[in-house]
Amino acid sequence: MTVPDADGLAAMVRPDAVHRDAYKNPAVFALEMERIFKGTWVFVGHESEVANPGDYRTLRIGNEPVIFVRDDGGVLRVLVNRCRHRAATVCQWEAGNARSFRCEYHGWTYRADGRLVGVTHPDRYDDDLRDTRGLVSVAKVDSYRGLVFASFNPQVPELVDHLGPAAVEYLDRWLDHAGGRPLVAMAQAHRLIIPSNWKLQVENGLDGYHGGFVHRSFFNLMQARTGKSVRYASGLPTAQAKAFRHGHAAVDPETTSRQPLVNRIAVLPHATELLESMRKRVGDDIYEGLLAALPGPGINIGIFPNLQLIGIHLRRIEPVSVDRAVVSVRPLLLADGPPEFNELRMRYHELFYGPAGFGQPDDIEMFDRVDDGLADDTDNWLLFSRGITQETEDGEVRTGNVSDETPQRAQYREWVRLMTAGASAADG
């Protein structure tokens, strides 16, 4: 397949539809890694994942292997995981704690802030390489309330401006869902293979239309177990889908009620015993508040391109190739929460999410089916027109019904902006 120019890329997105080439063309994928994943802010993790000096986690930003690390001075860094000598990775583990990173090929050693502190047998070099050959630091690292982002592009706007006030208001609502009690990310996360293009997960996490169909078996089970009817958001007229600046978005069924989520708690293993014990520990008033907070805020938020806040977890999307991605779903617990609360939170998460959950695998099955269907080239367009003439616009915020494709249209406007901004700079 050919490498599209800026006009070709822009033509892949209509106001109401996206062309299959955006999902299937490997050349488009290569441009996405450069212009989106190295062009804008990308989520790397929660600051509590690297709570102590030397704590690190390895991941990829687009194609780039990086180390997300807290240095000796407590500063959060994102370093390229590549020795400045002959390119071997310097850190082999998914997570851990290290005073330094040593390349085992020829013994070069770097501190957790990236400084090169040891070159073996340096007398055969004319210069002291330590001043110039530190690990490459990703140009920008910043965080909003514990959510850490990095960007290879030194020209990106400040993070808070990139997010914008409307997305920030939603993030605050989400992060304060336990009455402002501090949240901490679990060391463990479910990691799942997505057998399709990464953008199918981007779309789906903000899709308020699919739940009643894709997750029908889950809702049937919950109805049978709790004896309470479950009305899903897409049938609720007051629930909303929102689009913010830069492709960020939210689906907000909370405008109706979180009670159906709270009802699920009763079916969790050890629920009766744990709830009783928690009530005794914290007293009736606090207990009621905790119970309401347990299933999370009931809002899905997407920060384009690779972060979603869903249920009680942070979801990070890592593209691998044009038809493969990895998604990690990492629950947040209460930092100083009652143990019963945190145990039930984990059980609540396991119920729906992870490779053996009763919900998430059915989403991934749909991505697989879309990928199969995309073999067709008689139609070529995926339709995103739902609610397009009925959504309302207020400044930079668009609001539709929860089942509208308002979020997806915003995601693809941002996709075009990033993909063509890079192209015109390169062409010019």
Binding site: M186, Q188, H190, S217, P269, V326, M346, E350, F358
Partner: protein
């Protein structure tokens, strides 16, 4: 002792056959009311309750897992996976090993711990996955056979990105 060992081995082979024959309800009946079906994410753990797991099912949730396969709307299992469980390297473990396998389980006087390795091949649509695991069972006498009180499956690569585990491992 040899008799006990061979009865346990026969039991876990029969269990695998029920799964591979799609006789899920009969498989579910093997589990006791207090049973735990556990796939840890962190296979160094001895206790499922204070950790995130791939699966931590009590008997109710295990029943839900089976009924989801039968309900017709679990799209990730429509069509159903076919599986082949190969179980081997089986041996009985001393009772004190419960402390590292499932510390929350209080062994009954006649309960037995058996452990081995499994290769699970899963086939669905045009794809085939192969999983490797260490599997441990706590079996309790029930009539002239056993009931399963604990089935613990430690997947190799449990913390790596995983394909869907919507079938019964």
């Amino acid at each position: 002792m040899d008799d006990l060992r061979s009865r346990c081995e026969t039991f876990v082979y029969d269990e695998a056959e029920l799964l591979d024959d799609g006789r899920y309800e009969e498989w579910l009946d093997l589990f006791t009311e207090d049973a735990v079906y556990w796939l840890p994410l962190d296979t160094t753990r001895n206790h499922p309750r204070d950790a995130l797991n791939i699966i931590y099912d009590d008997r109710h949730r295990l029943g839900d897992r089976v009924s989801r396969l039968r309900g017709g709307h679990a799209h990730s299992e429509d069509p159903l996976s076919s599986t082949q469980h190969l179980v081997g390297n089986l041996r009985l473990l001393p009772r004190n090993r419960i402390a590292t396998l499932a510390a929350s389980c209080t062994l009954g006087d006649d309960d037995v711990i058996i452990s081995g390795r499994s290769v699970v091949v899963r086939c669905r649509r045009d794809e085939m996955d192969v999983l490797h695991a260490r599997v441990s069972w706590v079996l309790t006498p029930r009539g002239n056979t056993f009931g399963i009180r604990v089935k613990r499956v430690d997947l190799m690569g449990a913390q790596q990105p995983l394909p869907m585990l919507t079938f019964l491992v």
